[in-house]
């Protein structure tokens, strides 16, 4: 049997979307630091504006450097295309704003990054979009929360910070049964650990600030479309007029007719990026591209180190619990084995047998771990979610999200794991003395 010719993941990480620069031969993707691009003639200009020809007009809408990153992440995810945004938050907002309007509704996992929770619970209601939060593991809860006006289901592949594993196949099946798309935040897993489209998800976004860029030097996001969701068929029919009815803001275009597989991306670029303007800068895209080139190598090491550290902590006398799905003690261990065979990432939380003050002392006693609000850096990081990333949540909501006052979140970097264990041992000893 003749074998199909396709490039594999590690190759795509290095090459997808990039061709040697036709003008100079530069092998690295050039940084096209230009706001605008010259039109060859007036007819060409009009054709670009009317989507009769492809190309770049203005870097808020698209940019050659940014487009390479978009293609690359789309290739790694197995999607049809992507839009890079100013941040992961901007990617989430772009997805929602493209599909939903006032009076419509989202069902979301309760185990979310605090920033996502802020957007859904506090900010979007001001624009008429409401969210019902459910336990990520409770499929019946997801089902019960769906209303006639629901337009989107949303969760994180690994919840923040409890690492609840989203049962993507089950939630996707439920979403599709109701004619709804499933959007997942895949920041913690990256396409190296999970390709959510293969499990049924319809839209994926990343905070590219984290593992995709991998070095903690930029802020960026990427929104990817699987191209599988049928916006105007079956139970979805009539639910997504932004994609299936003429859009006066762009020549009465019906996006679902214009593109069978990329209607969502068309609308998101022709409206959301154009009007809200949360685009990615070309230099940011260049830096994220450098990170993506080594994504497979880094993720392998991140996971190996995380396993070592989680194992160390799980047997330490001053540690109450370790919430890492790779460990049999995690409630989602079996699901993780099925959906995340390469590992469960490098971010996890643990709780100490001590007071809040001892927790603070532990963090302040670490020397290699940096105390800051980020994850997915090459360097190891630590934070206290209850007082930082999730501080706007009520005590009740914190508990529902699996966060206690003693919860400490780690993002394991690429250092020698023995050095990280020594750092943690020392800090645990100091904190344990009270």
């Amino acid at each position: 049997m003749t074998k199909p010719k396709t490039h594999r993941f590690d190759t795509l990480s290095l090459h997808a979307g990039a061709v040697p620069d036709p003008a100079t031969g530069a092998r690295a993707t050039p940084i096209y630091q230009s706001a605008s691009f010259v039109f060859p003639d007036s007819d060409h200009a009009a054709a670009l504006f009317n989507m009769e020809r492809a190309g770049h007009v203005y870097s808020r809408i698209s940019n050659p450097t940014v487009a390479v990153l978009e293609e690359r992440v789309a290739a790694l995810e197995g999607g049809v295309g992507a839009i890079a945004t100013a941040s992961g938050q901007a990617a989430l907002h772009l997805a929602i704003a493209t599909l939903l309007g006032a009076g419509q509704h989202i069902v979301a996992s309760r185990s979310l990054y605090g920033g996502s929770h802020n957007l859904l619970d506090y900010t979007l209601p001001r624009f008429g979009i409401r969210t019902t939060f459910v336990d990520a593991r409770d499929i019946d809860g997801w089902r019960a929360a769906i209303r006639p006006e629901t337009r989107l289901l949303f969760g994180e592949t690994l919840g923040n910070p409890g690492l609840e594993v989203l049962d993507v196949p089950a939630v996707a099946a439920l979403a599709h049964e109701h004619g709804l798309p499933l959007l997942v935040d895949s920041t913690f897993t990256t396409p190296y650990l999970m390709r959510p489209f293969e499990l049924g998800a319809d839209l994926v976004f990343h905070s590219a600030t984290k593992f995709l860029s991998g070095h903690g030097v930029v802020i960026g996001g990427v929104l990817v479309d699987a191209g599988t969701f049928r916006w105007d068929e079956g139970a979805a029919r009539g639910k997504f007029p932004t994609l299936t009815e003429p859009y006066k803001g762009f020549h009465d275009m019906v996006f679902a007719e214009e593109s069978t597989t990329a209607a969502f991306l068309l609308r998101a670029r022709r409206e959301g990026i154009r009007d809200f303007g949360a685009c990615m800068a070309p230099f940011t895209a260049f830096q994220i591209l450098q990170g993506v080139e080594t994504l497979p190598l880094r993720m392998e090491r991140h996971v190996a180190n995380a396993r070592r550290i989680a194992g160390f902590l799980s047997t330490h006398e001053f540690v109450e619990s370790v919430g890492y799905p790779d460990l049999p003690s995690h409630p989602d261990h079996a699901l993780a084995k099925r959906l995340l065979p390469r590992g469960c990432g490098a971010v996890f939380s643990f709780a100490i047998k001590g007071t809040r003050a001892q927790g603070r002392k532990l963090i302040e006693s670490l020397s290699l771990f940096s105390h800051l609000a980020n994850v997915g850096d090459a360097k190891s990081l630590v934070i206290h979610p209850a007082s930082t990333t999730h501080f706007r949540m009520s005590a009740d909501d914190l508990l529902k999200a699996g966060i206690t006052e003693g919860t400490i979140r780690l993002s394991i970097g690429l250092e020698d794991p023995e050095d990280l264990i020594e750092d943690l041992s020392r800090a645990l000893y100091v904190a344990g003395k009270g």
């Binding site: 396709t6 009769e52 492809a54 789309a74 290739a75 191209g227 599988t228 214009e258 069978t260």
Partner: protein, 262 residues
Amino acid sequence: MRFPVDGREVYAYTGSREIAPSQPTVAFVHGAANDHSVWALQSRYFAHHGFNVLAFDLPGHGRSDGPALPSVEALAPWIVRALDAVGVGTATLVGHSLGALSCLAAASSSPSRVSKLALLGPAVPMAVSDALLDAAKADDHVAYELINGWSHSAPRQIGGNRVPGMWMTGAALRLMERSAPGVLYTDLSACNAYADGLGAAANVRCPTLVVLGQRDLMAPAKNAAALCEALAGVRVVTLAGAGHAMMAEQPDAVLDALRAFL
């Protein structure tokens, strides 16, 4: 727009424009397991530059009711009946791959209905390998993967899509995956079985354009040589570096070839 042909609903993309009797009409006919959206850029251009556009979804494809028609000989008169259904007397036919063979046959059998003919990625005969036919017959996903690999030139399988942010091979694969079971096999069988291409070419009386992809592995340019010989006064444009999926790989070059021809 949607309209009935043979009692079944058909969809044709018009660029969000009404059909104006005063304007010339260009009908676009897609290839195997594709739909109207493969012509997105080219069809939209003509719809906004003084032409009526009808980018059909062939029966059993895209938004058009099935079943898929089993042969080029069945597709050719269907194109004419679709023109009848929307009240178009004569049209320029632009076809790709299986669509090219169907347009060729329509120009041969209904010369009064075809004002000009553009054939993109044609081959006569258009032989399909047993491996691909077998995979398609079994509705094996490998068939789509094989086509994707053979339809895109090697550089475009790495990237460099002219449409910003789009992953070309991913989009092509996803479009084929939307095909109902059996459609790809029906389409490929129609290509493989069509034996009268040279005879049809000899009957064509209208101006004809043939656009070839220099790196086309699905329908290699050399396999169109006899066809070009048989078409009187044909204009041949070979796109350097292009594969079979030339409308996606080189959208501007395809558009410019069509503009110059029309």
